[in-house]
Symmetry: C2
Subunit: 235 residues, 2 copies
DNA sequence: TCGGTATATTTGTCTTACAATAATTTTAAA
DNA sequence: TTTAAAATTATTGTAAGACAAATATACCGA
């Protein structure tokens, strides 16, 4: 408590609240390797002393980290670093882009094009099997309400890339244009099945280029379809 | 203050703190279209009343939203919704994956493969010009210290896709394996220039497939190089 | 050994007070 | 009248302390 001769010099670009500094210091525990994902953090009382901040400030920092899904807190159970990146932060952030449908679609495009390429390198036989089943479900659907199976198809591919960082983002993006998706009147089932099958076959051959090519064709179609539909709704 | 007969029924999967609920409600203002990016939020006092929570709880929620770069706060200036998704949240979250270099690289791969494809549809002449300059800087560098120009090349392409959602993520990813990047002893300048030039030419032709192909070739090389290097350091 | 009960630890929420910042208004000078 | 300086005030930032709620742990009895 004696001296407080620090904190003088960085008056950096974006305002530095105490809570932000605390977040930064806690994150550094991971970056510097002092703590690892899954580790338990000290209780708030200890952290307050160690970091020399009041409880509200500390709690603002911890709340933020919890919202970012970097930590998990449980009453009486303590606070732990999570093991991998979560998906909710993305959906929250995506709220800023709700009125920019094109950005959402193209973000999804960008991700899926990359992921299908990597998936072609890695996909397992079981995943291929599940892919096939999701195609069959679409083909057999009598009504035109196969939206869930459609999403499932894309989700399986994303997961096949087996990348913990990007996994969460896909879901948020797929969900994001759910609303629009639902408004597409003519679901052209046969075309969807044809596209999906082509992608599936490319993955079966473990051919990254072909997988990319087929996915690109498919997503260009989806993009056009969605943007068309929205346009006709807005004007 | 009279009755408090609500909040009874959802005891959902992940524990619902008041702060989280407040975040959700504020985000809904955007999703429902009641408020738009750039809009000013009511001062804390009003929000407390409206949402019927104490100030610390409200402030935990606002802190979280600020950390997610969904809002910006300024002392005495008020609180505003931001206009687009930011990049810092990603770098914070990435802290959980510091020890998973492969995931970082492949996340970058996935994103860049998709982005270069979309960039090929959209890139402007000015951006092409800047790309060419960044290649020249690498070619002319006498030492082997062209890391910045290298990153610049990839950054320009990412920005050319002109997608506000993905923009932020690339920076975080490029920075993330900066450390490793720096440890690569043999920077094979000529090969880098050759790869970059091939990508540039594809973009010049606005050829998405060719752009993808060349970027894939390049990134496969980068991935192998980095993983090799790290392996030789760790063991 | 098992099952229930009590205890204590840890996170969750609220109230109040004051500090710091900067937008706004007022005042004074040119 | 315009401009610049100074005072005011609205708004966010930080702190302290108290109590509530939840539950992991220890304890006790059957």
């Amino acid at each position: 408590m004696a001296e407080t001769t620090k904190k003088v010099f960085v008056k950096s670009v974006s305002r530095n609240t105490l809570a932000k500094q605390v977040v930064e210091r806690i994150v550094q525990l991971l970056v510097s390797g002092q703590m690892k994902p899954g580790d338990k953090l000290p209780p708030e009382m200890e952290l307050m002393e160690e970091l020399e901040v009041s409880r509200p400030v500390l709690r603002e920092a911890l709340s933020s980290l919890e919202m970012l899904e970097v930590i998990t807190r449980k009453t009486r159970g303590g606070t732990y670093f999570n093991n991998k990146i979560g998906s909710k932060p993305f959906s929250v952030m995506l709220a800023l882009s709700v009125d920019n449908l094109q950005a959402v679609i193209e973000a999804r495009m960008a991700l899926e094009l990359g992921l299908v390429t990597i998936a072609a390198e890695k996909i397992t036989d079981e995943e291929l099997q599940k892919l096939k089943e999701s195609i069959d479900r679409i083909a057999e659907s009598r009504d035109n309400n196969y939206g869930e199976s459609d999403k499932e198809f894309h989700r399986i591919i994303a997961l096949s890339a087996n990348n913990e960082i990007v996994e969460g983002m896909i879901d948020s993006l797929l969900i994001a244009h759910n609303q629009t998706d639902r408004q597409i009147k003519y679901r052209e089932r046969e075309l969807t099945v044809e596209h999906h099958t082509a992608i599936y076959n490319a993955l079966l051959k473990r051919d990254p280029h072909e997988a990319f090519t087929q996915m690109y064709r498919h997503l260009k179609y989806v993009r056009e379809k969605i943007l068309q539909t929205v346009q006709s709704l807005d004007f």
